[in-house]
Amino acid sequence: MSDVVAVETGLGGIGTRGRLSSIPPVILLCFLIIGGAVFVAIFGRLIAPYSPGQQNVANVLQKASAEHWLGTDALGRDILSRILAGARTALVGPIVIAAASMVIGNALGLLAGYRGGRVEAVIMRWVDFMWAVPGLLIMIVVVGQFGGGYWMAVAVLLVLTIPFDTRVIRGATLEQAPRPYVEAARSLGVSDWRIMGLHIWPNVSHVAVANTCLVFASSLVALSSLSYLGLGLSPGTPDWGLMVAEERNDLFVSPIAPLAPALAIVITATSLNLIGDWFYERLSSRGATR
């Protein structure tokens, strides 16, 4: 898998290290978008011009205007305010998943790639199994049938995401394991855990960081899909996926009502994917010159 994550985006910025000027404008824009999204996820409810739940029946399905920048929905609620408030459920779950999956997936991947043998066989069978399973279906069954809401969905998605990280890190570890520096460390009597964590991991960290961005993007898409289907969040909650579902029938009357939250999802996910690809390219080219 790891070789295709690195499809060249042609965005430049390869070679020079860490300096801000070496970041191509597109990526800078992506970082700004994600920074803005995180800011809104924290302070969204405070900066929203209206309360996201405030209905106004005399003012339904308005077009964009000076008072309502993105118009109003079928219940007269301000769409911009709802998008700002909805950033929280859109981002918090994916951030938790990306971080936890990075820690657990990296540990399992290093273990499988370095130790090999039975440990690897068990981990990889589980990975293969999870890999072929359509995650959204599992989430629908678990959250729909057993309840548990948003955090249950996050937990299920985390379990489904870990194999993705594990597989990528195992692949990268397999490339590192036969190298002389690993053998040197082993002959000096360094413990396996130390070799995995302090010797091999820094050399596969570029894959880990890039992969975490991609996991962030894909779990954002998956969680918003689940809330679009009406699972995980209660009706009326300001959430991007749920807003698209609730305003879907107004597409003929007021296209902006479902399209605005839909675009919010696409723009955020695209920025994350671009950043992930860029990280992969930049850091892997740095690793190659070592």
């Binding site: 295709v4 499809v7 072929a132 399973v133 279906l137 049938q145 993007a217 898409v221 399209l259």
Partner: protein, 328 residues
């Protein structure tokens, strides 16, 4: 690696097929067991769901328990259920009281049509665009295609569905916004928008892989040699490059299938199509247990059989796979 006769058998294609078939059966049994135990891990009990608002007497409860074999031990219940399920009898829906298998059968064709249509689109657009991008590497066309693929990968099927509906059914009235149509071509026309939105994400995925494979194939010596011999660029491209670039695309078919099944759920809900995907959401949200069990088993079996077929094709093409080598 060669030498010992048992090792040779262990590396034979027949042994590989046998091993995979045994694995398939074990997995199916394991999944059916999990699906059966939904009944026990679901909050609330079946008798309550079945009774609904009708009066509850000890007699009706006992009768229901007997009818649904709830008075038997767990493994006996599983055995009775699994025996019926193996014959595609999943019982009656708790909501509609229609047999689950009838509903599945009436909804399956729509989903298969939609999935097949999207799969064809995915393969054609994905491979072609990927090949073009690799050929025009680092030029404007390549950058445009790759950027498009990244946006495509970031767009969930319901978002692309809403966008396509708005663009091609409302702004430009080129396609119908709902309904199934009658007859093959009418159906094809009606399902074009749903299939397009379903195919978008998997096309982007195939495109990335096809491009990466194509880039490495175009760098190979035999391609350079073919060019040096003066073969026409078109001949080199189609006969030498595309064919070899297709092999990695075969390996990701399992993931494409997972994309299509996931996307089908969203697309069917968005376009109000009555297929298996919308049935799954309906069964999960209304807690219709027999229906849910039936849908999950059918989908799981489909995925596993399809993956097995892909792996067999791949093992037939590439012997390294069945040797079980440690490849990165």
């Amino acid at each position: 690696m060669t030498g010992r006769p048992p090792a040779r058998f262990r590396q034979s294609f027949a042994f590989y097929v046998l091993r995979r078939l045994v694995m398939l059966v074990i997995l199916l049994v394991a999944i059916s067991f999990v699906v059966f135990s939904f009944e026990y891990i679901t909050p609330g009990n079946v008798v309550d769901t079945l009774l609904g608002l009708s009066p509850r007497t000890p007699e009706t409860v006992a009768a229901l328990k007997h009818e649904y074999h709830l008075d038997e031990p767990f493994f006996t219940q599983y055995w009775i259920w699994a025996r019926d399920a193996a014959q595609l009898d999943f019982g009656n829906s708790l909501r509609t009281t229609i047999p689950v298998s009838d509903t599945l059968r009436s909804r399956l064709p729509t989903s298969l049509f939609l999935g097949g249509y999207a799969f064809v689109m995915t393969m054609i657009f994905g491979v072609l665009l990927g090949a073009v991008a690799a050929l025009k590497r680092r030029r404007l066309a390549d950058r445009g295609i790759v950027a498009g693929a990244i946006v495509g990968l970031s767009t969930p099927a319901f978002v692309s569905g809403i966008l396509l509906l708005w663009l091609l059914a409302i702004e430009v009235k080129a396609f119908p916004s709902f309904g199934l149509g009658s007859g093959f071509f009418d159906e094809l026309w009606h399902l074009t928008l749903p299939a397009l939105s379903l195919a978008l994400i998997s096309t982007a995925f195939v495109l990335k892989h096809a491009r990466a494979a194509m880039v490495s194939v175009l760098d190979q010596d035999y391609v350079t040699f073919a060019r040096a011999r003066g073969l026409s660029p078109r001949r080199v491209f189609f006969l030498y490059a595309v064919r070899n670039a297709l092999i990695p695309v075969v390996t990701i078919s399992g993931i494409i299938l997972a994309f299509l099944i996931t996307g089908a759920v969203l697309v069917e809900v968005t376009f109000s199509l009555s297929g298996i995907g919308s049935l799954l959401v309906q069964a999960a949200t209304t807690k219709d247990l027999p229906m849910l069990q039936g849908v999950v088993l059918v989908v799981a079996a489909t995925i596993m059989v399809a993956n097995l077929l892909v792996d067999l094709v791949y093992a037939a093409i590439d012997p390294r796979i069945r040797l079980g080598g440690r490849t990165a």
